[in-house]
């Protein structure tokens, strides 16, 4: 990451106004969104949107041509171009030919994308944004930080200051007054403008219609008062049929602002009379700018299903800390990272793609059904292919790729860590490593790894067999979690085998874009896990479980592996893989495990790990087990929000990981519970380490540890 980028993160994190405003917004957003969707089958709506937009992006050329013909037959002029410079030239030529001196605009991200205002101003044309947020950032000489609320990063005090400096002195930070001021100052601009420029939220090929969604009413004025209307429309806004606007109009206002419908929706399908009775000139520019390249990419085509609602910004635990400006000048947040890589260039996304913590919070809420973290991972992979891995990462993966070397280094670490070790923790590391122990203690490497420990456990023989995939953290830092798992499964009469050749699951390599390394890890693990005949492969680490269940196959496919045997074996491992709580719940339900009766174990709170809840869809199982054991669950606020660990993310961006953890700890403490349970050793590392630094008398435990003594 560049120093400049790191500095922009630092600046954002230190901006209390920004993090305060975004934090409060992210909390209110979830509530208003949920309320707006009451009585609506969101899954059905988004299935439909994904289908509509997915189908449209498969035939942009056809739809764009149909739109052009239809709109032109009704009197509009339609200009199609792939090139942003031609969009600007077209508007400049038109302005010159028609003697345009003043332009009013309603919000258009497409015009932001091509930096239209600068081009118009350079030609001596006065341009005024009329959406309040856009006007504020125009006056402040800034760029939008959010697709829906461009000025969300500014306080009323800052807005008053901008108005005072740029428009008229003496404005006070009173929001209704500031809004009235904007109305009064912009009204003459609307009345005097010669040209109105808008974007469009949807373009309907069947009827040649533009659908424009606003709340302030500025788009109605921009499309009514000036004699020329120019609409700049990215071709990803095309849909085939009129009826297809309905699911989009159902989701867009609900997901964007928690409204059932925005104050105004205008459907413009042809020129209309001007106030003086003359016919309005309607120009529609269909802009490609790499959208059709994207449509041809089998992975990134999906991103064209975006309806620009900004949900992925609003629910992102990183966005709410750093805001939009660190992402760049136009599109921000998760989807913005992807759009920047395509509309601008891949290189521009190099730093910002690293901001995605891969928690998956945006995935279940995206109305376009876009796997945003998945696509960001794909960007990461392509960047590594294009630019290569950094030397430091290469060195690390060189080690991880060699199991014997990797494991002997871990064993060595248990000795060399001694000067820093205090009980089960490492609380301070020297020099550049100190960032890692600033906000949380790290676990000490265990003296005896699980792979050695397991050999001493006497287990039942002759019954069912299950293979245990420990993963590096349980194997080398938390072997007691593995021992708990074995103890519980033994109670069900199951023998737990530990294939010694298992190695790192490959997640660290994969999440850093090093797919070749991940594939090598996958091959070794598949071989090791298929050596013994077992009913299940169980893991007590959700990230490892996801690797075994989904990522091995996906990594192979991404690398173009077609060998049927490799893929079949990966499928076999996938089919057998199960997470700890889901397996234990099955055993309890089948009567193979029985809880001790009448235990009152007190109040506990549960933290949902990202991969367990959102990829493996297990959130009820651990809770049910803990309750059956005798715990009372006191749910924490935002129980399924990421703890900030995310593997190497917390090493690369500790400045973001730390405040995310801080929020998590606060929510844990607020429950008043003396224990917090979770199913992921990575989350235990982060949360236990955070609680240790914090000094709060709360125990962070893996569910396996909490359940180990609870069965008869």
């Amino acid at each position: 990451m560049t120093t400049q980028f790191k500095e922009s993160i630092e600046t954002a994190l230190n901006n209390g106004n920004l993090t305060g405003a975004l934090g409060r917004f992210s909390e209110a957003y979830r509530i208003s969104r949920a309320k707006a969707y009451e009585g609506i089958d969101f899954e059905a709506v988004r299935d439909r949107i994904a289908e509509i937009k997915g189908s449209a992006s498969s035939r942009f050329e056809e739809l764009a041509e149909q739109f052009k013909q239809k709109a032109e037959s009704r009197g509009a002029k339609v200009f199609r171009t792939a090139d942003p410079d031609q969009v600007k030239q077209y508007i400049l030529d038109l302005a010159k030919a028609e003697g345009v001196k003043r332009v009013v605009k309603s919000k258009s991200m497409a015009s932001e994308e091509i930096h239209l205002n600068a081009a118009l101003e350079k030609a001596g044309i006065e341009v005024d944004e009329t959406d309040l947020g856009e006007w504020i950032i125009q006056l402040a000489h800034q760029t939008p930080s959010h697709m829906v609320m461009p000025a969300i990063h500014m306080t009323k005090e800052e807005v008053a200051e901008v108005f005072s400096q740029e428009v008229e002195e003496g404005q006070t930070p009173n929001i209704p007054k500031l809004v009235k001021f904007a109305r009064a100052k912009l009204r003459p601009k609307f009345l005097q403008a010669d040209m109105g420029i808008t974007g469009a939220n949807i373009a309907v090929a069947e009827t040649g219609s533009l659908v424009i969604v606003t709340n302030e009413g500025n788009a109605r004025l921009v499309t009514t008062l000036p004699k020329i209307h120019v609409a700049i429309v990215g071709i990803e806004k095309l849909v085939a049929l009129l009826e297809e606007i309905q699911p989009i109009l159902t989701a867009l206002p609900r997901s964007a602002t928690g409204q059932l419908l925005t104050s105004y929706v205008s459907i413009i399908s042809g020129p209309v009379p001007n106030p003086d009775g003359s016919p309005k000139e309607l120009h529609i520019i269909l802009m490609d700018n790499h959208r059709s390249d994207m449509a041809k990419d089998p992975k990134f085509k999906e991103a064209l299903q975006c309806i620009r609602c900004a949900t992925c910004l609003n629910v992102c635990p990183v966005f709410r800390l750093v805001g939009g400006h660190v992402f760049g000048k136009t599109y921000t947040g998760g989807i913005g990272t992807i759009l920047t890589a395509w509309f601008d260039e891949l290189k521009k996304a190099e730093d910002i793609q690293g901001l995605c913590i891969q928690c998956g919070s945006c995935v279940p809420l995206c109305p376009g059904k876009i796997d945003i973290p998945g696509l960001i991972l794909e960007l990461r992979r392509r960047l590594v292919v294009e630019k290569g891995q950094s030397l430091a990462m290469k060195a690390i993966f060189g080690v991880v790729n060699n199991r014997r070397l990797f494991h002997s280094m871990l064993r060595m670490a248990s000795v060399t860590q001694k000067p820093f070790k205090q009980g089960r923790f490492i609380r301070h590391l020297p020099l550049f490593l100190s960032d890692l122990t600033d906000f949380r203690s790290l676990p000490a490497i265990a003296a005896v790894p699980f792979r050695d420990m397991v050999k001493a456990i006497v287990q039942p023989k002759g019954g069912d067999k299950v293979a245990f995939y420990a993963g590096c953290l349980i194997d080398f830092a938390y072997p007691e979690m593995g021992a708990s798992l074995v103890k519980i499964l033994n109670k069900a009469g199951i023998e737990v085998v530990f294939p010694d050749d298992q190695t790192c699951c490959g997640a660290p390599a994969r999440y850093n874009g090093a797919y070749e390394v991940a594939a090598q890890n996958a091959r070794e693990n598949i071989k090791a896990l298929l050596e013994t005949d077992v009913q299940y492969v169980v893991s007590a680490c959700p990230t490892c479980t996801v690797a075994l269940k989904h990522d091995f196959i996906d990594t192979f496919k991404s690398l173009g592996v077609t060998d049927p045997l490799t893929l079949a074996e990966a499928e076999k491992v996938s089919a057998k893989t199960i997470d700890f709580s889901s397996l234990v719940k099955k055993l309890v339900d089948a009567g193979r495990l029985t809880f001790k009766e009448g235990e009152a174990l007190g109040k506990i709170t549960y933290h949902d790990s990202c991969h367990l809840k959102r990829t493996l869809k297990a959130s009820g199982e651990p809770r049910a087990l803990l309750q059956q054991a005798g715990h009372e669950i006191a749910e924490m606020y935002e129980c399924d929000t990421c703890c900030g660990m995310a593997g190497s993310y917390s090493l690369k961006l500790p400045e973001i990981s730390a405040p995310i953890l801080e929020r998590k700890l606060k929510h844990i403490k607020d429950t008043g519970a003396s224990k917090v349970a979770m199913d992921c050793p990575g989350c235990v590392m982060q949360i236990r380490g955070g609680l240790d630094k914090d000094g709060a008398p709360i125990q962070a435990e893996h569910t396996a540890e909490l359940l180990s003594d609870r069965f008869l």
Binding site: A21, R24, F25, A28, R74, T130, D131, L132, G133, I136, M149, A151, M154, T155, K156, V159, I175, P176, V179, K180, A182, R183, L186, R187, F190, L191, V204, E206, T207, N215, E216, G217, R220, L221, T223, T224, L225, L242, E243, Q246, L249, T257, Q259, L260, L261, T262, S263, Y264, V265, S266, I267, I268, S269, G270, P271, V272, P273, N274, P275, D276
Partner: protein
Amino acid sequence: MNATLEAFKTRAEAVSAEVHRFTGRQEALAFILGFLREAGVSAAPQCGAVWVAGTFLDGTVQAELHSQVPGISFDVTQEASAAAKVGVSQLDWAIARTGTLVQDATAVEKRLVSSLPPIHVALIGTDRILEDMGSVLQHLRPDQFNYISFITGPSRTADIERVLTIGVHGPEQLLIVVVDEFDRVTP
């Protein structure tokens, strides 16, 4: 009150519109004139009301309305609308599910009176309230009309600190007058 009307009223009021329902036209007209007077509509500058005449006024003598509330003008221009306090227009359809009014707004006058003055009085027949957007689009097809407007509550913004503020560039007050016997001339 029928269920559709009730749903419409609930939704429209939830987004800060005011909904008044009348059985007959005369009753509704008397209410509107009273409202205009109360709003301070007069012949004085910046105090006018611009009214796009529609079927609601069939059989009504416009001059008579003007004599009752001087300041009402049926000659809708950009200048008159920009200077007016109130705009009055007839809407074509409404959507119960979202509290939305819908209109073929191809005629510029209809857009001027509902976007420039700070108050918009919207007239709609009770039988014009349909369940959802799909039903309305069956009647008001964009392949037949060049400008269709959907209006849901007054103009609003939350662009400064996400604080909801009513009335930015469009009306800050939306008064919806629902009339059962909308097109029938009552003696």
